[in-house]
Structure formats: structure tokens, C-alpha cells
Amino acid sequence: MKANADLLRGALEPVILEVIADGATYGYEIAKAIEKASEGRLLAQEGTLYPALHRLQKQGLLDAEWAVSPEGRQRKHYQLTPLGRKQRQALRKEWTEFTRAVNLILGIEHVQPQLAW
């Protein structure tokens, strides 16, 4: 089942930062990494990835370099900037808290009273 487009919009950018941190560097590879990790549920169309990549680059979260691919084509490779690495951590935390809150409302997760540290 493909993800709802509205849900996807919020999830795509943290997902991209994750797969790039895990080693995927260029568009096709990133798309395939997302497809594999999500068992084909996240990216309805591979092209959706590119506006998100460019937005992340514009925000300074990704850096990019051009190199020649083994097939002899120009290929754009992305990597996380220091700001991107920081944002990745922040988004992970934000996502965890968000999903926890939604799960609580949906009754998916039961939370025991929290004890001290």
C-alpha cells in the first residue's frame, strides 16, 4: 500500500536525510534505498524525490557534487552537511515524539506513568 500523499510530504525529508546518512548518494540510488527500506510504500513516483532533495540543498542540509558516473554521464552526488546531520537528529526526535502523540490518540500505544530517571 502506498502512503497517503499528505503523510508522505511530512515524512519524505527526514527519510531522505536518513538514507543519505546511510550511504546513498545520487538520486536513483536514494530512490531505490527508500523503496527498499519502505518495501515500496513511500515513494509513489521516484520523481517526487527531486524537489525534496533540492529543497534540502537550498536549506543547507545537503551538499552536492557532480562527478562522472561509470556509464560516462554527469551524476549529482549528495551528502549531509554538518547542519544536515544536526537536523537529522532533530527530525528523528521530532518524528518520534509526533508519532508517539498520534499513537496515544489512536490508542495504539499504552504508556505507563513515567518514573524518575
Binding site: Y26, G27, Y28, A31, A44, Q45, E46, G47, T48, Y50, P51, H54, R55, Q57, K58, Q59, G60, L62, D63, A64, E65, W66, A67, V68, S69, E71, R73, Q74, R75, K76, T81, L83, K93, E97, Q112, P113, Q114, L115, A116, W117
Partner: protein, 476 residues
């Protein structure tokens, strides 16, 4: 299809524009890069399909289907890269028309073509080139010649009170570096002198020397007249007032003694910042912003109060965060409140009011001498809510941790601040606080280490209930 002109043509590797903000490169270069990136994706995908035994045509078709609408994706990428600059040049309307016409034309042509993928990539190229070329033509005639210059005037409170002899810094918000420093004349007027292209902002000290004011970004580029900058150096602020839905409860729990409660309030104003804004930081909700070198937070300074009943109802007259720390610029601030119920240990000194923002100046609410012999319970809030207690127990070493934990406060209430007025908020002290404390103690309390002081924390709802004007000379 001709090969795109890319930065990497002359070398095996080259860095693409990666800094935040509008892409500084020529529009046709940006368009060529987008085209090359999409072409590489489609070609790579097609090659993978061919390797599974599909024909060349089938492979291309399948790659195209998986990718989606090439023209639309290319157009969106282009706008992400160039949209800011184009919008600034006032060409939005023209571009939309051109784009719509181009898309229509390309769509018709593409339906007639034999190879759909090749056609679409070709159309994308033409489209992006057209988009890149159009905006500059109508602007060229009106564009001023010569270098960029920023002119304007500074005043304090009203235009008839010029800010004379005030040093003004022109900074580049791409990297935060100083570009130029000038001083206003006797009428408060200033002229930057010739400047190189860039995303700039103005920075000037305010009269009391505590704050500086940073203007909104000025996109200063050749061919575009920078708008005149008039800056008011007066700090216009409002304040926050507090009422409680009911007094903070004091109650007995059988076998546990007497519980008291306090309220912890955190207020964050996004317009006061520790550092000048650059494109690396999130955009503030409003301009100008105010820079306070004593502040610690780059995305909005926060302050807190820890109050008991007497302070809320009595001595404060309902005003939170007195002094400079209670002066909030107009706009929204974020407020979070937690009610803490605790069983203070016998012999503890009385609670004193705590307030601050620049240092963690907690007073002795829990003064157990033992090494962190303290247990805290969060009834509904994240652990961050009770870290202040750890701070007190563990001393100054915990200062940074405490501050960072406060910064993770979520779901804050947005409270509007109006210059010259006090916004009144009401804290809903949860009706079931006592019941929750009792229930938790009865059901889950383990045998505690002694001595134990066990505060319970419960998030309190905040509502804005009105505002009232500040006295004319209200500075404190």
C-alpha cells in the same frame, strides 16, 4: 539531445551550489543541472530494466512511468532553486504566464512525438531555458546602472527624532560577515556606498545599548534597486500577565505527608536572539529582530518563572518576568506551564521566587544534601519538565543540560504580544492534580531511597483571556 553544460565538464568533480538561499548561478546553468540530474535518473533506471531483458523502448517507458511527470518535476526543482530571486524581481506574473503557455505548447508537441521520454526531456530543456531567459529582458530597461547602494534613515520612536551618529553595519546574511560599516548623519540618514551583490541586512545598536536591531534581508543584486531602509531604533514591547483557574493546591496524602505545589512557566520570544540571523537559521516570524549578546538561544530567547500561590496572587500583581526579561517584542511568544506538586522535606528553607533567562538561578526548593537522592514523577509531561530539580541538586554542572531540556518543550501555546499592552493569560491548574498524585503514589511507588523528595509534574493548559494597556512609563 545536447549534453548539458555543467560545472563538472572541465574537471572530474566539482562542487555544485550548495549554500542555503537562492541559487547564485546563472539560470540556464541551474536548468541544465536539473535536466542532467533527471536524465541520469531515467537513463540509469532504463539500463536496470534493460538488464532484466526488456527492450530499449520498454525500458524507457517503464523508467518514465516510475519517475512521474518529468516536466512538472523539473519545473518544481527549478522554482525551488530560483523562485526567490525571480519573485524578488517582480516577474512572477510574467513567468507564470510564460510557464503556462510553454507547458501547453510542450504538452501538445510531446503527444505528437514518437519517443515520449526523449520528447519530454527535450521539452524540459526548452522550457527551462525559456524560463531562465525571460525575466531579465523586461527588467533591463528599468535597471539602475552601477553598483548597488542601500540608503535610508534611522530614528527613535518617530521620524521626527533622528538617530544621529549611530553606527550601522551592513552584513551578508549568507555567511554573517560584515560587509560595510557607516555612521548616520545629523538627520539620521545613511548611505552604504557601493556594495557587491548579495543577500544583505542592516544592523544597528538601540539607544539603551542592550539590544541591536536587525532589518529584514535585503536582496541586493545588480539590476535591482534596493528598497529604501527606514529603521526605528525604539524597542516597543508588551508584557505578560497571569491568573490561575484555582489556587495552587496544598493537600495531604495519607502516609506521605503534606504536598505543596508550584507553577513553572517558560516563555520564549522568537524575535530576541543571541546572534544575528543568517540563512542557516529558521526564518523569524516577524522583522525586525533584536539581538541580545547576553542571550543564549539563536532561535528565540526563553525565560522562566517558578511561582507559588502567594507570588501569583499577591506580590507580582499578575505580571510575569519583570525587568528587561519581561519585555517582549510584539508578535507571538510561546508559553508552556507545568504545575509541580511536591512533598518538601522537613527543615527545608522557604521557597523563594525564581526567574531568569540568562542564568539558572534556582532557589532552594529541594535542598536534600544526598547525592541526587531525588525522584521525580511526570504525570503527563516529558521528562524535560523536571530537569530543573536535577539542576538544583547537582549544581552548576547541570546548567547546560537544564537549558537544553527546556528547549525541547513542545506544544507551547502561542500568545500574542502587543506593544504597550499586557496580555493576560490564564493557567488551568488541573482539577485532578491531587487525585493523580494520590493514585500514582498508591499504585506505583517503589520503596524510596531516603530522603526522597518526589515532585509530580502535570502540564497545565494556557488560554489568552485579554489584555490591558501598560502604564505609559512601564519599564519594569
Amino acid at each position: 539531445m545536447s549534453s548539458p553544460s555543467l560545472p563538472g565538464d572541465d574537471a572530474s568533480r566539482a562542487t555544485s551550489a550548495a549554500s542555503p538561499g537562492p541559487d547564485p548561478r546563472a539560470p540556464d546553468q541551474v536548468a541544465a543541472e536539473i535536466q542532467a540530474e533527471i536524465t541520469d535518473h531515467l537513463a540509469t533506471a532504463a539500463e536496470r530494466h534493460q538488464a532484466t531483458g526488456l527492450s530499449e523502448a520498454e525500458s524507457r517507458e517503464k523508467a518514465q512511468q516510475a519517475f512521474g511527470d518529468v516536466r512538472e518535476i523539473g519545473r518544481r526543482c527549478y522554482w525551488i532553486k530560483q523562485g526567490d530571486s525571480l519573485m524578488f524581481r517582480g516577474a512572477i506574473a510574467l513567468l507564470l504566464v510564460v510557464l503556462a503557455v510553454s507547458l501547453a505548447a510542450v504538452t501538445v508537441r510531446s503527444w505528437q512525438a514518437e519517443s515520449r521520454m526523449a520528447e519530454q526531456i527535450g521539452a524540459l530543456t526548452a522550457q527551462l531555458k525559456e524560463l531562465a531567459d525571460r525575466p531579465t529582458a523586461p527588467l533591463a530597461a528599468a535597471a539602475p546602472s552601477g553598483p548597488i547602494e542601500i540608503k535610508g534613515r534611522m530614528f527613535v520612536g518617530s521620524p521626527d527624532r533622528p538617530a544621529a551618529g549611530v553606527p550601522l553595519s551592513v552584513i551578508n546574511v549568507s555567511d554573517g560577515k560584515l560587509v560595510r560599516k557607516v555612521v548616520s548623519d545629523s538627520q539620521g540618514s545613511f548611505t552604504s556606498g557601493p556594495l557587491a551583490d548579495g543577500d544583505l541586512a542592516l544592523l544597528a545598536p538601540m539607544p539603551d545599548g542592550r539590544l541591536s536591531v536587525q532589518s529584514a534581508p535585503i536582496l541586493a543584486y545588480s539590476g535591482v534597486q534596493a528598497p529604501r531602509q527606514d529603521m526605528d531604533l525604539a524597542f516597543r514591547f508588551g508584557r505578560l500577565g497571569l491568573t490561575l483557574s484555582r489556587p495552587l493546591p496544598e493537600f495531604e496524602v495519607e502516609g506521605r505527608g503534606k504536598y505543596e505545589s508550584r507553577i513553572l512557566i517558560r516563555v520564549q520570544t522568537p524575535r530576541i536572539r543571541a546572534r544575528i540571523w543568517t540563512v542557516n537559521a529558521p526564518l523569524p516570524p516577524e522583522w525586525p529582530i533584536f539581538i541580545d549578546s547576553r542571550a543564549r538561544s539563536a532561535d528565540g530567547q526563553w525565560y522562566y518563572e517558578i511561582l507559588d500561590n502567594a507570588e501569583v496572587i499577591g506580590g507580582l500583581a499578575g505580571t510575569l518576568l519583570m525587568g528587561d526579561e519581561g519585555q517582549f517584542p510584539s508578535g507571538e511568544c510561546l508559553v508552556v506551564a507545568t504545575v509541580m506538586a511536591n512533598n518538601p522535606q522537613t527543615g527545608e528553607p522557604p521557597v523563594a521566587r525564581s526567574q531568569g533567562g540568562f542564568s539558572m538561578d534556582f532557589h532552594a526548593l529541594h535542598s536534600n544534601a544526598g547525592p541526587y537522592a531525588l525522584r521525580a514523577w511526570s504525570l503527563d509531561a516529558p521528562p524535560a519538565d523536571y530537569f530543573w530539580i536535577r539542576h538544583h541538586i547537582e549544581g552548576q554542572r547541570r546548567q547546560e543540560e537544564v537549558r537544553n531540556q527546556f528547549e525541547h518543550f513542545g506544544d507551547a501555546t502561542k500568545v500574542p504580544i502587543t506593544a504597550g499592552a499586557k496580555t493576560l493569560i490564564r493557567i488551568e491548574v488541573p482539577d485532578d492534580l491531587e487525585a493523580q498524585v494520590r493514585a500514582t503514589l498508591e499504585s506505583t511507588t517503589p520503596a524510596p531511597e531516603a530522603p526522597v523528595s518526589a515532585p509530580f509534574n502535570l502540564r497545565a493548559k494556557i488560554t489568552v483571556v485579554g489584555s490591558e494597556p501598560l502604564p505609559a512609563a512601564a519599564s519594569d
